[in-house]
């Protein structure tokens, strides 16, 4: 079966090339255009290799309840195969959990709260089952940022675009990450959906453009609930990528307020010394 060609993203550069009016343009116009392209395309630095447009993930990294729910989903659904080897369980105190709560709800009996989040999966078996080792998820939200948006946006899109595909060994495929090795671990929550395509003509070719989803079997959650749950999970991943991120911003405000005052004093000090220099 041929994989449908979805949602082709044509870069602005290409579009302009296609118009083929470069030759008739004056030199200065070309320079200006080149610069506009250069700065307009800054996103192109981390080139999105075509594919689906990413949905904007909700940022709930300041919402303790959402982060706790995300942590629960993470530990229950992700941590079986993926590690977060740089993240200690007791760091979850930052999102409002106590050591006792962590012990009771998130740990196996043998683990200690000071340990990092290691998956129990055997790397050899993982390779056999999925064709590769599941990547560590500690900083996954930071590493997956790109032209399409933040890493959280990518993960939010990815976790919501699985569809059944009989061709794949796991029985699942994904729109944001075609031919992904990972099965849809949240399928019970989401149910199964299939993508619907429109056929369009583009540059003399028939291409299939992704239009939307069709629910095949219902999940235990409504689509809205599922989106919220994934939003919580992704916010948790984003928080875990840099647990200090909100402290960072809070400290930053104070530092800038101080520097504002300091700059004012430095400015007046400078003026006082230089007022007599003729």
């Amino acid at each position: 079966m041929e994989r449908p060609n979805r949602c082709r993203i044509v870069s602005p550069l290409r579009r302009i090339e296609r118009k083929n009016d470069m030759k008739t343009m004056g030199f200065s116009k070309k320079v200006v255009l080149g610069l506009m392209l250069a700065f307009g395309l800054t996103l192109g630095v981390h080139a999105n290799e075509g594919g689906l447009a990413w949905d904007k993930a909700p940022n709930k990294t300041n919402d303790m309840a959402a982060l706790q729910n995300g942590a629960k989903l993470f530990v229950n659904y992700c941590l079986n195969c993926h590690s977060a080897a740089f993240m200690r369980f007791n760091r979850l105190r930052d999102i409002g959990l106590t050591d006792q709560q962590i012990k009771d709800n998130l740990l196996f009996t043998t683990e200690k709260v000071g340990e990092t989040m290691k998956a129990a999966i055997d790397p050899k078996q993982a390779k056999e089952w999925f064709g590769g080792n599941p990547p560590d998820l500690t900083v996954i939200a930071r590493s997956r940022a790109g032209a399409g948006g933040s890493g959280a946006d990518y993960l939010y899109t990815y976790m919501r675009t699985f569809y059944p595909d009989a061709e794949k060994p796991t029985g699942w495929n994904n729109l944001a990450f075609p031919n992904v090795g990972m099965p849809h671990v949240l399928w019970e929550l989401q149910g199964s959906r299939k993508p619907v395509y429109d056929t369009k003509e583009e540059h003399g070719h028939e291409v299939q453009v992704f239009k939307g989803w069709e629910q095949v079997t219902p999940g235990t959650m409504t689509p809205l609930q599922y989106d919220q749950a994934v939003g919580d999970l992704v916010s948790y991943l984003q928080w875990m990528g840099e647990p200090a991120q909100n402290d960072r911003v809070r400290v930053g405000v104070w530092v800038l307020l101080f520097l504002g005052l300091f700059t004012f004093i430095a400015w007046r000090l400078n003026a006082a010394f230089w007022k007599d220099v003729k």
Binding site: V139, I140, R144, P243
Partner: protein
């Protein structure tokens, strides 16, 4: 021995203490005078003169944050990535120290590029300040080495593959290349040995050289005195002086420029801390997203780009294709031909032969064959007979262009033949030329971040030719046009 001063027994404790030290370490007091309280700097410094002090500040920040990072970082391929995350999570305030260090690396280049631009437009490299400029260029080179090696240490994908690409460039050097690359890596691929030696260079060797050069840069500067936006000498024999022999157009560095710099520093820190606290990745420019994936020798990223401060030179590297090398060969031939015409006949032959040899090494013969298909049988036959005539791989010339882009700066003092130093009194069209130069540099920098493309490749080839043309033709173009009248004294408006 210097004269021993006594102070009155009734003097204050502070005076006594000062006197005690002054008798035992007069050098320190002398240095304070020479470099601070009695170092007379022109009083017409403007905005552009802040970047020297800022470079010093940034250097100190790098050293201090670096010291703390080394306490927790592990230079081991198996542990490096995890130790950086350990710093970001488990070390108290480690995230701040690390983010400062990496933001400062970019800030260092911003500051140094602006500092160099200041020197460029006001002619600060011209006689008698050639050594100040040369030490400065050497500092810039060291800084590039420092940044390149430091970038390997987090051991992420970009660290790893960036180092792999750059070290492999050395392999393009004829004859010794592969051995040279092996010597740098200490292994056949970038690995633990590479990480260890880069760590050693990054924290010990290069900083030592850097500090020495900074001292030399400042000593040379304070010996000849600072230039200024007017390019007028304030300390020359004809310059106006007061009764004590101090220049009338100068002002003691301390306190006047120290208060100036404190103000400048506070402005800089506002921008710097705003980045650190609110956008440390700067959209992937200061901290590339790929670097959050641990180095994997078996997975080459789709697109490997150096950090932004290397990209103008990286563009020059990529611009030199075999086609471009042929163009360069023709330029070399033309230059040899025109200069030979002006030389006495004894030298003519030598220049022509050297020119031809360089052109052949640039791949003139296969290039001609490609350019003019009717010559292909001849050039093809020649190459079959003498394979050496094929010249050196264009990749090597790309490396030469990249290195040459930096090295050419060293020669600036002898390339500029303009009658006046400062851009203020140059013919107007010089200003446009410098503007284009800056724009060109930015465009090259931008293109260096992108994956290679045919249109981008063309633009960067033109940009590279312009960059080198700007410097190599400077002896001629800098003489064209009538400069404006340079004033006798600096122009200064009281604040």
């Amino acid at each position: 021995m210097a004269e021993f001063h006594e102070v009155s027994p009734n003097a204050s404790a502070g005076e006594k203490l000062t006197n005690w030290f002054e008798n035992r370490l007069p050098t320190a007091f002398e240095a304070y005078k020479v470099h601070m309280s009695e170092y007379y700097a022109p009083k017409n410094f403007n905005f552009w003169y802040i970047f020297g002090s800022l470079a010093m500040l940034v250097l100190v920040i790098q050293i201090v944050t670096g010291i703390f990072l080394v306490m927790h970082y592990k230079p081991d391929a198996a542990l490096a990535f995890a130790s950086v995350e350990y710093i970001m999570r488990d070390v108290p305030w480690g995230w701040l120290v690390r983010v400062m260090h990496l933001t400062c690396a970019s800030a260092f280049f911003v500051v140094v590029y602006l500092h160099m631009f200041r020197g460029l437009i006001y002619g600060s490299y011209r006689k008698p300040r050639e050594l100040v400029w040369i030490f400065g260029c050497a500092i810039f080179l060291c800084l590039m080495a420092e940044a390149f090696m430091g970038y390997l240490l987090p051991w992420g994908q970009m660290s790893y593959w960036g180092a792999q690409v750059i070290v492999n460039l050395f392999a393009a050097v004829p004859f010794v290349g592969p051995d040279l690359a092996l010597l740098i890596r200490g292994d056949f691929v970038v690995g633990d040995a590479t990480l260890n030696r880069f760590f050693s260079f990054h924290v010990i060797a290069v900083p030592l050289v850097l500090l020495g050069l900074v001292v030399a840069h400042l000593m040379a500067l304070h010996d000849v005195g600072s230039n200024n936006p007017d390019g007028v000498e304030i300390k020359g024999p004809t310059a106006p002086k007061d009764a004590k022999g101090h220049p009338l157009d100068g002002i003691p560095f301390h306190p006047y420029y120290t208060v100036h710099d404190i103000f400048g520093v506070s402005m800089f820190l506002m921008v710097f801390t705003a980045i650190i606290f609110f956008a440390p990745e700067v959209g992937g420019y200061f901290l590339e997203y790929n670097n959050f994936i641990p180095a994997d020798p078996f997975k080459t990223p789709l697109h490997i780009a150096p950090v932004w401060y290397f990209t103008p030179f990286y563009s020059m590297l990529r611009a030199v294709t075999s086609e471009m090398a042929t163009v360069l060969a023709l330029i070399v031939l033309a230059a040899a031909f025109f200069s030979a015409r002006r030389l006495p006949s004894a030298f003519r032959g030598v220049v022509l032969v050297v020119g031809l040899a360089v052109a052949v090494m640039l791949g003139l013969i296969p290039g001609l064959g490609n350019l003019l298909p009717f010559l292909a049988p001849v050039t093809g036959g020649l190459l079959k007979a003498v394979p050496l005539l094929g010249g050196i791989d264009a990749k090597f010339w790309g490396v030469v262009a990249m290195g040459g882009g930096v090295v050419i700066l060293f020669f600036l003092p002898w390339l500029d033949n303009s009658a006046v130093k400062s851009i203020r009194y140059r013919p107007d069209w010089h200003k446009y030329l410098y503007a284009i130069f800056v724009l060109n540099f930015l465009v090259l920098g931008y293109l260096g971040m992108l994956p290679p493309s045919s249109i981008g490749g063309r633009v960067s080839q033109i940009g590279t030719l312009f960059y080198f043309g700007f410097f190599l033709l400077m002896p001629w173009w800098s003489r064209i046009g009538t400069p404006k009248q340079v004033p006798d004294r600096v122009t200064f408006a009281a604040h």
